[in-house]
C-alpha cells in the first residue's frame, strides 16, 4: 500500500529523556479508520509515543507522518489531531459549551457556526442538557463525554486517547468502552488509544501494538496476538488470568511431535520445527482455559490449592507435583476440595513453547 493512504506512520522514532531511551526505533503504520491500541505495562513508552504523535513531546530521531505529511517538527495544533486525556483536562473555569468550543474560539470561528457544531457534538454524546454546567458540577462519566466532545467537534484526522477510562468505576468503564467502540464505528476517524488494560485492548482494538521498555514487541489483531504471540511477554500480558508458564524437559523431539516431561507426567505436543535435544529445558505456555478435567488418568496431575467461584466459571489454583503453580479456568461450577488431586487434559494445539530467550517456537510470522 502506498504511504499516502496511511493515516499515520512512525519511521525509526526514538526519544530520550536525558540519557534514558524511552522510545527505541519505533516503526508503526496505521491505516485510515483503524482503532489502534497501544498496550503495555507502566513505563513501556506508550504514553510517550502518543505525546510524540500529538506533538507535546519532541522526538530525538525518526519521522512522524500523518496522512503522508511529515509532521515531525510541526506544531501540535497544526497536526490535525485531538487528544482525550486521562484526567480529561477540562478547563474548570469554562462551562461545557465553552470547553467543547474552545478550539474554535481560539481559531476565531464565527459564533453561529461554533454553537451549531458544539450542539451537534453534544447531541452525539447525549450531553446537550449539560452545556451550561461547569466541569465540577459533572460526574466522572459526564466529564469524560465532554472531553470526547471537545475532540469530536474538531473532526480531526486522528483521535488520541490516553487511558481515558482509568478514572471511571468498573460499571461505567464497561459502558463507556462499548460506547467508544460504537462512536468509532459511527464517525469512522482513525483512533489511537493508550491503555495498560488488556481487556480494553482486546475488546476495542482493530489492531493492538504491544510495547515493552520503549520497543514494539508485536503488532496484530487482538486474536492474532492471543493465538499467536511472538514471545513470552506478549503471551503472558494478554489473557486473564495470565498464561501459565511451566518449565519442562524435552524427552523426545521429532517431526511427529514433541514430548516433554512435567515432573512424572509426559505431555506430547505438536512438532515445533525447531531443533530441540532430549534433556534440554523448555518453557511451555498453557492458557488457563486450555485445561479440562481429564477422562481417566489425564495428561497432568495437580493438587488443588484454592478454588474461586465466578458463577459461570471456576478458577482453580493448583500445584504440579514439582511445586510449579497453575491457574485453571474451567466452565461451570465445580468445587474440588483443597488438597485433592485432579487429572487434567490439555488442549495440545493451544500450547505455546518458548526457547531460552522467551521466543515462541510455534510463532507463525506470516500471520502479521
Amino acid at each position: 500500500m502506498s504511504t499516502a493512504s496511511k493515516a499515520f506512520e512512525a519511521r525509526g522514532v526514538s526519544k530520550l529523556y536525558g540519557e534514558t531511551a524511552v522510545l527505541k526505533d519505533i516503526d508503526l503504520s496505521i491505516e485510515r479508520g483503524e482503532f489502534v491500541v497501544l498496550l503495555g505495562p507502566s513505563g513501556c513508552g506508550k504514553s510517550t509515543l502518543m505525546r510524540c504523535i500529538a506533538g507535546l513531546e519532541k522526538t530525538n530521531s525518526g519521522q512522524l507522518l500523518i496522512d503522508g505529511r511529515d509532521v515531525t517538527t510541526v506544531a501540535p495544533a497544526a497536526r490535525d489531531v485531538a487528544m482525550v486525556f486521562q484526567s480529561y483536562a477540562l478547563f474548570p473555569h469554562m462551562n461545557v459549551a465553552d470547553n467543547i468550543g474552545f478550539g474554535m474560539r481560539i481559531a476565531h470561528t464565527p459564533k453561529a457556526e461554533m454553537s451549531a457544531r458544539v450542539l451537534a457534538a453534544a447531541k452525539l454524546l447525549k450531553i446537550e442538557h449539560l452545556l451550561d454546567r461547569k466541569p465540577r458540577a459533572l460526574s466522572g462519566g459526564q466529564r469524560q463525554r465532554v472531553a470526547i466532545g471537545r475532540a469530536i467537534v474538531r473532526n480531526p484526522k486522528i483521535f488520541l486517547f490516553d487511558e481515558p477510562l482509568s478514572n471511571l468505576d468498573a460499571a461505567l468503564r464497561l459502558e463507556t468502552r462499548v460506547e467508544l467502540t460504537k462512536l468509532h464505528h459511527r464517525i469512522g476517524n482513525t483512533m489511537i488509544y493508550v491503555t495498560h488494560d488488556q481487556v480494553e485492548a482486546m475488546t476495542m482494538a482493530d489492531k493492538i501494538v504491544v510495547m515493552r521498555e520503549g520497543r514494539i514487541e508485536q503488532i496484530g489483531s487482538p486474536l492474532e496476538l492471543y493465538n499467536n504471540p511472538k514471545n513470552l511477554f506478549v503471551a503472558t500480558f494478554l489473557g486473564q488470568p495470565p498464561t501459565n508458564v511451566v518449565e519442562t524437559t524435552v524427552v523426545e523431539s521429532s517431526a511427529a511431535g514433541l514430548t516433554v516431561a512435567v515432573g512424572e507426567d509426559r505431555l506430547t505436543l505438536p512438532a515445533t520445527g525447531a531443533v530441540l535435544t532430549p534433556g534440554q529445558t523448555v518453557r511451555i505456555g498453557l492458557r488457563p482455559e486450555s485445561f479440562s478435567i481429564g477422562q481417566g488418568r489425564g495428561a497432568l496431575t495437580v493438587l488443588v490449592d484454592l478454588v474461586e467461584q465466578l458463577g459461570n466459571e471456576t478458577l482453580v489454583h493448583c500445584q504440579l507435583a514439582n511445586g510449579q503453580t497453575l491457574t485453571l479456568k474451567l466452565p461451570g461450577q465445580i468445587n474440588p476440595p483443597a488438597g485433592s488431586s485432579l487429572a487434567l487434559d490439555v488442549a495440545r494445539d493451544q500450547t505455546m513453547i518458548f526457547d531460552g530467550d522467551g521466543n515462541n517456537l510455534r510463532y507463525d510470522g506470516r500471520a502479521e
Partner: protein
Amino acid sequence: MTDTTVAARRQPRLPGWVRRLPAYILVWAWTAFTLAAILYVVMSALKTKREVLRSGWNLPQEWVWSNFATAWTVGRLGEYFINSLLVVGVSVFAILLVSTPAAYVLARARFRGRETLTNLFVIGMGIPIPMLFIPIFGILSYLRLSDSLTGLSLVFIAISIPVTIYLLTGFFASLPSELEAAAVLEGCNDFQVFWHVMLPLAMPGVLTALILNLIWLWNEYQLSLVILNSPQNRTLPLGLYSLQNAMQYTGDWPGMFAGVTIVIIPTIIAYALLSEKMIAGMTMGAVK
C-alpha cells in the same frame, strides 16, 4: 487487634471541644483585642476633644462627624488619600502585570538558567529594606525622581516583585500540566495558554498577591519617609504622622482618630471583599 482497640478506649480522652479550647481562647482573645482597638479608634473619632480625654470607652454623647471633615481638609488627608490611592493603585497594577507572566514562565517553561533566576528572586526577598535607603535615594536623585510619587511607585514595584513572583510561582506550579497540553492541542500559542487557561485558574493566587501588596504598600512608611519630602507629595501614613505632630499644638485628638480611621478603612474593605478568595488561594497550593 481487639486488645488494642479496647486499650485505646480505656484511655481517658477529652471531648473534642475541650481539646480545641486553648486554640479557641487564643483566637477569640486576638479577635476581641483587634476589634476593641478598631472600635476605640472609630468611637474616639466621633467624640469631642474633651470627651475623648474623659469618657474612655463610653459611647459618644453626640456624634461629631465634623472630625472627619477636619482631618480630611485641615489635616490634608484628602490630598494624601489621593496620593496613596495613585501610588498604591499604579504600583499594585504594575507589580501584578510584571510578576504574573514572569511567575508563569518561571514555574512552567524549561530553559537554561531558570533555577538561577528563581533563586535570584528569592535572594531579593531577603534584603532588609533599610539597607536599600541610600542606594535607592542615590538612584532616584540621579533619575531626578526623588521626592516624586513616580519615584516612590518605581521603588514599591521593584521591592514587591520578588516576593510576588515567589508567591505566584507556587500557584502556577500547582496547576495540572495536562490543561496546558490540552490548550496547546486546541491551537493556543504560549500567550493564549497563559491568558485563556492558566491565568483564570491562578486567579485566587493573583488576588492573594493583590491584597497582600495592597495592604503592605498602603501602610508603607519607611521608604515613603526617605523618598518624599514635599508636604504635597505625602502618602497617608506620612500624612498621619504629620497630623499627629500637629496634635501636639492643637490637641485635636478626635481629628487624629478620624485620620486613623480614614487610613484603615480601605484595607478593611478590600480584605472583606477579597478574603474568601484569598483563603481559597492560600489553601489551594497546599491541597493539590
